[in-house]
């Protein structure tokens, strides 16, 4: 089998798993659309701002340049469909086992916290692995892994928010479906959204990025496993009963923010050193070395070029330089 064949096999498998997740979700929830069309539509529509703003913001968080639109969307779709659909089945199985084995009293408080973190973090992390396999060079290191993890988690979060909104209709006796959906959105976007799934999968994704960056040395599993366990721990804290929402959200957000700042600073430091070295040896010019890491400076350089042909060549050159920096500094 050639490299191309194996890539297309992975892409096909990913598409099949996304379709499977969508079918599971549709089977579970399509009746809400028939019985409460307006409220179900509102549950989806009210998540769109979170989806669009989150998608744009996470892509912008990647230094130098945004990740490819196609693979960013693929990560989001995996989280929203394959991971979320499989999580419905996996969580039902494991929470059922807890209820049967440790008693209803304990399990009603703890089965979510002891089931969802394991199932959901693994299912979401699988999406980041699929991006590594389906899109060679999309993820070069931990910072890329963090960004793609955040996108995968965001997709999952949006689907879960819609599901909670729909469940809210039933738990309020369907007396005011639109208000039940709105209340759910206010809590899950306005209150807990900042520390929810995207933070956990971002951390797990960074671990997968470490694995990719160190693959030439036979793989370094320790940071990858460490990040996955940290993501599971963050999720457990998030689902744990009797812990204040403020603490849950703050801790999860602080962890991912600190990890992002550390990884970004380290990446930028390596990138600057690389560009200086390349400029010193004459591989690239001093102007290019100064502008390569800044979106604004690159755009300004392009604007200063009057000839369309030269502008095209310069843009091509910028892309190649950015790709080289991204790979080597990762």
């Amino acid at each position: 089998m050639t490299a191309d064949d194996s890539i297309w096999t992975v892409r096909l498998a990913a598409a099949v798993l996304c379709v499977f997740g969508t079918v599971v979700l549709a089977w579970q929830f399509y009746r809400y659309l028939l019985v409460f069309p307006a409220a179900a539509g509102a549950a989806v529509a009210l998540e769109m701002p979170l989806l669009l703003v989150g998608f744009a913001a996470f892509r912008l968080l990647r230094p130098v340049r945004a990740p490819a639109l196609l693979w960013s969307a693929a990560a989001l779709i995996w989280g929203a469909t394959a991971a979320a659909g499989c999580a419905v089945l996996a969580n039902r199985g494991l929470t059922g086992l807890w209820a049967k084995s440790v008693g209803v009293g304990f399990s009603s408080n703890w089965s979510d916290a002891l089931s969802a973190p394991l199932n959901e973090e693994l299912l979401k992390a699988c999406g980041v692995v699929m991006i590594v396999l389906a899109a060679p060079l999309a993820i070069n290191g931990p910072l890329d892994g963090l960004i793609f993890g955040a996108l995968t988690g965001l997709g999952f979060q949006v689907t879960e928010n819609v599901v909670y909104g729909l469940n809210g209709i039933v738990t309020s006796g369907a007396t005011h479906p639109a208000q039940a959906v709105l209340n759910s959105v206010l809590v899950r976007v306005g209150t807990t959204g900042l520390g929810s799934h995207w933070t956990m999968t971002a951390v797990a994704g960074a671990g997968i990025g470490y694995l990719v960056a160190h693959s030439h040395r036979g793989g370094e599993l320790t940071p990858a496993i460490g990040c996955l366990l940290l993501a599971i721990g963050m999720h457990l804290l998030f689902d744990a009963p009797a812990v204040s929402v403020v603490i849950k959200v703050s801790v999860d957000f602080a962890i991912v923010a600190a990890l992002y700042v550390l990884l970004r600073n380290a990446f930028m430091e390596r990138a600057r050193r690389l560009l200086s070295a390349w400029a010193a040896t004459g591989v690239i010019g001093q102007t290019e070395a100064r502008s390569a890491l800044s979106r604004r400076r690159r755009r300004s350089e392009l604007r200063r070029t009057s000839s369309p042909v030269v502008r095209y060549l310069l843009e091509l050159r910028q892309r190649q330089t950015m790709a080289a920096v991204e790979r080597e500094a990762a």
């Binding site: 089998m1 194996s6 996996a90 199985g93 399990s107 006796g173 007396t175 960056a213 591989v283 080289a324």
Partner: protein, 207 residues
């Protein structure tokens, strides 16, 4: 290690592109993990019994502790389906012979919303039990003296009753759905659950 497209010097830290065999091996790992989680827990779950026998006169609290909750008392021969019961979230699934009872705590956003509970129940049944038809509501009074609404449930193979009691604060309600097969034994079991439904008590008492 190949040089990058710009002809820049290749560094020692470049990640390796997976070989086709390595890529397929990792794909196998992903598919295995997803299959294990999705189907494995479900299959394991099927091997364990889901019936928890309840002792006679056992009480179940529905909803949070305090005045905004309710209590039901079971007689002999009752069991709980543990996978479909969650006291923290206010729902239980109970059985007595062929009769199945599901109890749910409903949080109301406002006091005026209690008036829409019967229509809401009809709509929810279209989602949860699409084959069931809910009849018109009639008055019912609990042993505690609390007034509620009850109505017949019918489907091709089942008969039952749905009952709603609104809590004293009118910010919550308790919904009880009893279903039994449309057989002589099922209808006898259904009749015997009437006492159980009326046993519902609100700690805050009737208004």
């Amino acid at each position: 290690m190949a040089a990058d497209p710009a002809g820049h010097p290749a560094g020692a830290g470049l990640p390796e592109v997976p070989t086709p065999r390595g890529r397929l091996r990792w794909l196998g790992v992903v598919v295995a993990v997803m299959t294990l989680l999705t189907a494995g827990w479900q299959l394991l779950n099927l091997t364990v019994s889901d019936n928890l026998a309840l002792t006679r006169a056992a009480t179940l609290r529905i909803g949070p502790s305090g005045p905004d909750s309710a209590i039901v008392t079971v007689g002999s021969g009752w069991s709980m389906r543990t996978t479909e019961s969650n006291p923290a979230r206010g729902y239980f699934s109970l059985r007595r012979g062929p009769a199945a009872v599901s109890i749910a705590y409903l949080s109301l956003a406002g006091r005026v919303q209690a008036a829409g509970l019967w229509d809401g129940l009809r709509a929810v049944l279209r989602i949860r039990n699409p084959g069931l038809t809910l009849g018109s509501p009639t008055a019912i009074t609990s042993h505690q003296g609390r007034a509620g609404l009850t109505g017949a449930l019918t489907s091709a193979g089942k008969v039952g009753a749905a009952t709603i009691f609104v809590g004293p604060s009118r910010t919550f309600a308790i919904q009880l759905i009893v279903l039994a097969p449309r057989t002589a034994r099922g209808e006898a079991a259904l009749a015997s659950t009437g006492r159980f439904v009326r046993s519902l008590m609100f700690p805050a008492g009737p208004p």
